[in-house]
């Protein structure tokens, strides 16, 4: 069966109808319709490049339609650095097949042999000249058929657009301040809404006195869900503040002591389950290392607060949202609103970068609930800064405990990793209960389901990258998913990877020191994965690792990982300066992501994620008291600023013949880890608590 055609790409198999993916217009445009959404990662541009290449049209002819139910392909959630890997590969196949179908029709009607035809910017050319075009056949419904297996896509060497840097299609609007974000939508009859969240987690609303409202303001209440609607944004804001001050709630302590969070995780009664194990022959352990690593919860901290617009029309509701998964959101809206999915329309409009599952989905339910009070009118719900930082799902606090042993010759004999964490996904559309924030507040409430960790075959959640990529004869990796969830947790850039890569790579440096080896040599000695070794060598070369000079207060550290153990390979070298606080000075990144459709776009993602990771490593922690999150402003949740960002250099190890792997996350974990190792290099202590602030480093042991 070796010559069976290659199966359809996953997204295409799930949505095989070609007309769902692309159509031509008589005016000379190609409209492609992916199931993935733009979240600042540049997917629209990469997809337009792929379509232009396979169809042989100029990129300017390609328009990318934002996802909308029910017509767009259902590609689930845009996450996990899978946009190009899923949508790009499916679209490439669909476009290649479409090109073939159109050429066949052109060959038949013109009498020119199929293999004598070529396409130039959408025109079909034979030896005697032009015989037609996509645009002339646009009305023939030629794509009302299903995709068939077997790849007709061009060989990599024939690509002219994909593989070269292309300017982002969305950037001009953003540089000229044009209305492009969901926040900018102003449909006729628009009402503005604000939601009032309880003063404590799980608090019940006892009284919301309508007498506190200024004239012209409408109240929307369902159980403990409370919102106000007004003709102007300013009025809605003022009214929300007044009402908030007048409300009475029943509240209680529900959160653990912040300072005891690591202990709380350790004490949770959930089982620690082995998820990877190896028992190969190994030498006796001659030296042993052990360390526990803790990271507090982390916020997505989007620059634009979450926003949604909703309009009820009888029994149907239309939602405009910057969700990462329009179909998934629709499923959970249907559950929470107790209505049929078909009665809900979700249209994607861009928001600010989200970096994972922030409040985008939650605010859509808030908008729908508020809009019920004003049937027929579009209602724009916008969260406040405090709500964005305080009520979006968080990346779970994590505890990672590592123990490892060297044999007498300085080789790794054993390595064990135990991960303790809440789940890393509360994304909608995956269980029987809605995961949306307001669902437990309704008069007829839904219990809040605990976040889950997907299995390793899907890249894992908390346990993502908990399996070392090194040659380890005796290996044990275990996961305890804590199901009690005092703070709602969900997916954020990298999921568990940043903490696991930090823990593993930190212990690798510890082992290297015990073996008397340079961190680079020690890693290379234990790497069988050639692509991992290659990126590590390239990053070390970029940073001048081997010839590095020692300077007082300056340190250099390295780390390498293969994202999810399934995705892109990435190595990072960081240089830090340890003064009053730790400053990241320079970051060098080498990445192997297989085929790269838009090299500058990929570099932009890697640079951005390294800066994001630096921010997390050095500054970020969600703070809370026994009742609620207290880090709900930019003062109490500081992130990295212009004056603090490191210089970042990126090198791509390009492999155009190999499948594309995403760029948004692979550098995140290695950056955190490289910074930690650079701190150890300069200060001689092993950072074990994030963020790497002076207070947390004060307790770091010398190892």
């Amino acid at each position: 069966m070796s010559d069976a055609p290659k199966p359809l790409p996953t997204s295409l198999a799930a949505n095989p109808r070609l007309s769902r993916w692309l159509r031509f217009t008589p005016q000379g445009q190609v409209v492609v319709s992916p199931g993935k959404v733009e979240i600042g990662q540049g997917i629209l541009t990469a997809l337009a490049q792929i379509a232009a290449d396979e169809l042989d049209v100029e990129p300017a002819r390609v328009a990318v339609r934002a996802v909308a139910t029910p017509d767009s392909p259902d590609e689930g959630v845009t996450s996990g650095s899978l946009s190009v890997q899923n949508s790009g590969v499916a679209l490439r196949h669909a476009c290649a097949e479409a090109r073939g179908i159109f050429l066949q029709v052109a060959a038949q009607s013109s009498g020119v042999a199929l293999d004598a035809l070529r396409v130039e910017d959408g025109e079909f050319l034979g030896p005697q000249g032009r015989v037609g075009s996509y645009w002339e056949l646009a009305d023939r419904d030629l794509l009302d058929c299903d995709a068939t297996p077997g790849s007709r896509a061009k060989p990599p060497a024939a690509r002219r657009v994909a593989g070269r840097s292309a300017p982002r299609l969305d950037l001009p609007d953003k540089v000229f301040g044009r209305p492009r974000f969901l926040h900018d939508q102003r449909p006729d009859g628009l009402l503005h809404a604000r939601v009032i969240r309880p003063p404590a987690r799980g608090a019940r609303l006892l009284e919301a006195p309508a007498s506190a409202l200024p004239p012209g303001v409408t109240l929307a209440r369902d159980g403990s869900f409370l919102a106000v609607l007004a003709e102007s944004e300013h009025l809605a804001e003022t009214a929300a503040r007044k009402l908030e001050a007048a409300c009475r709630w029943q509240e209680a302590d529900t959160l653990p002591e912040e300072a005891q969070l690591a202990e709380w995780l350790r004490a949770a009664p959930d089982p620690m389950e082995t998820i990877a194990e190896r028992q190969d022959a190994a030498g006796d352990v001659a030296q042993h290392a052990e360390a526990g690593f803790f990271r507090p919860p982390i916020a997505h901290a989007s620059i634009g607060p979450s926003c949604a617009v909703a309009r009820w029309d009888g029994e149907r509701v239309e939602i405009w949202s910057h969700t990462q998964g329009p179909y998934n959101l629709r499923m959970d809206l249907a559950k929470a609103l107790r209505m049929a999915e078909e009665a809900i329309l979700v249209r994607h409009v861009e928001g600010a970068g989200c970096y994972g599952h922030n409040g985008a989905d939650d605010v859509a339910l808030d908008a729908a609930l508020a809009a019920r009070a004003a049937p027929g009118r579009p209602v724009r719900m916008l969260w406040t800064r405090a709500q964005e930082l305080g009520w979006s799902p968080f990346s779970s606090a994590m505890l990672v405990e590592v123990s490892a042993g060297l044999d007498a010759s300085g080789g790794i004999a054993e390595f064990a990793v135990e991960v303790t964490s809440n789940g890393h996904s509360s994304r909608p559309g995956r269980g029987s209960l809605p995961t949306l924030l307001a669902a437990p507040d309704l008069a007829d409430p839904f219990p809040q389901p605990p976040a889950i960790n997907h299995g390793l075959q899907r890249g894992g959640g908390a346990q993502r990258n908990a399996v070392p990529i090194y040659r380890v004869p005796k290996l044990r990796v275990a996961l305890k998913t804590v199901t009690a969830m005092p703070l709602r947790t969900s997916a954020m850039r990298g999921l568990g990877a940043p903490v696991n890569v930090w823990a593993i790579e930190s212990v690798m440096d510890q082992l290297a020191a015990m073996a008397g080896a340079d961190p680079l040599e020690f890693r290379l000695r234990h790497l069988d994965d050639a692509r991992a070794a290659e990126v590590l060598r390239v990053a070390a070369e970029m940073a001048g690792w081997r010839g590095r000079a020692r300077a007082e207060g300056v340190g250099m550290g390295m780390a390498v990982a293969r994202y999810k153990n399934l995705g892109a390979w990435c190595a990072v070298v960081a240089e830090i300066e340890a003064a009053e606080v730790i400053r990241a000075r320079r970051i060098w990144i080498a990445a192997d992501m297989g085929e790269v459709v838009n090299p500058d776009g990929a570099a932009n993602q890697l640079e951005g994620s390294a800066i994001h990771a630096t921010s997390q490593a050095l500054k970020e922690a969600v703070r809370f008291d026994r009742r609620n999150v207290t880090s709900d402003s930019w003062e109490s949740y500081p992130i990295l600023r212009f004056s603090e960002v490191p210089a970042v250099q990126v090198k791509l190890v390009e492999r155009p013949e190999l499948p594309p792997l995403g760029a948004g996350e692979p550098a995140f974990g290695p950056t955190v880890a490289a910074i930690a190792n650079a701190i150890r290099d300069s200060l001689g202590v092993q950072p074990r608590v994030m963020p790497f602030t002076p207070e947390n480093l004060a307790t770091a042991p010398a190892v």
């Binding site: 982002r168 974000f181 300013h234 620059i303 916008l382 640079e607 930019w634 992130i639 004056s643 960002v645």
Partner: protein
């Protein structure tokens, strides 16, 4: 009624004087460039030029700009006639989600007006009130420096 100059043209907005300037610009004047990020003068997304100074508009009352000159990112330039900064941001592909860019462009314009040849440290200092969560900082700094050298070349 509050009268002022907006992007070079006189406007009179019939809105409460105590309303934040940001809300007045977005709702009253129909602009989309100045963006809401925090409402507390802590993120930079809403910055506009008030008499040439880069100023957060989210907490400043509309009444405070009566008779003054306000410029938003829309007033810097357009696709047909971009400000050198806007052209440089496109050339450097300086941005990802882009939500922070309007405010940053406005502060960069104020910087270059006051200091036509800033060094990297001066650019970072001028942009320090602005948060960018996407990590586009280095590209943004390069873009500002590129615009500066381009503007200097044009006037040489």
């Amino acid at each position: 009624m509050v009268s002022f100059t907006l992007n070079g043209a006189p406007v009179a907005l019939d809105l409460p004087e105590g309303m934040p300037l940001l809300a007045a610009l977005r709702e009253g004047a129909g602009l989309s460039g100045p963006r809401f990020g925090c409402g507390a003068e802590t993120c930079g997304a809403c910055h506009v030029l008030v008499d040439g100074r880069s100023t957060p508009s989210c907490a400043m009352p509309l009444g405070a700009v009566a008779g003054r000159d306000v410029t938003t990112v829309e007033g810097l330039g357009s696709e047909a006639a971009p400000h050198p900064l806007q052209a440089a941001f496109l050339a450097e592909q300086a941005g990802q989600c882009g939500y922070c860019l309007s405010g940053i462009l406005v502060s960069a314009a104020a910087l270059l007006a006051a200091n036509p040849r800033p060094d990297e440290a001066a650019v970072k200092q001028a942009l320090d009130p602005h948060l960018c969560r996407c990590g586009s900082h280095n590209r943004i700094v390069r873009a500002v420096l590129r615009a500066a050298s381009q503007m200097a070349g044009e006037h040489a």
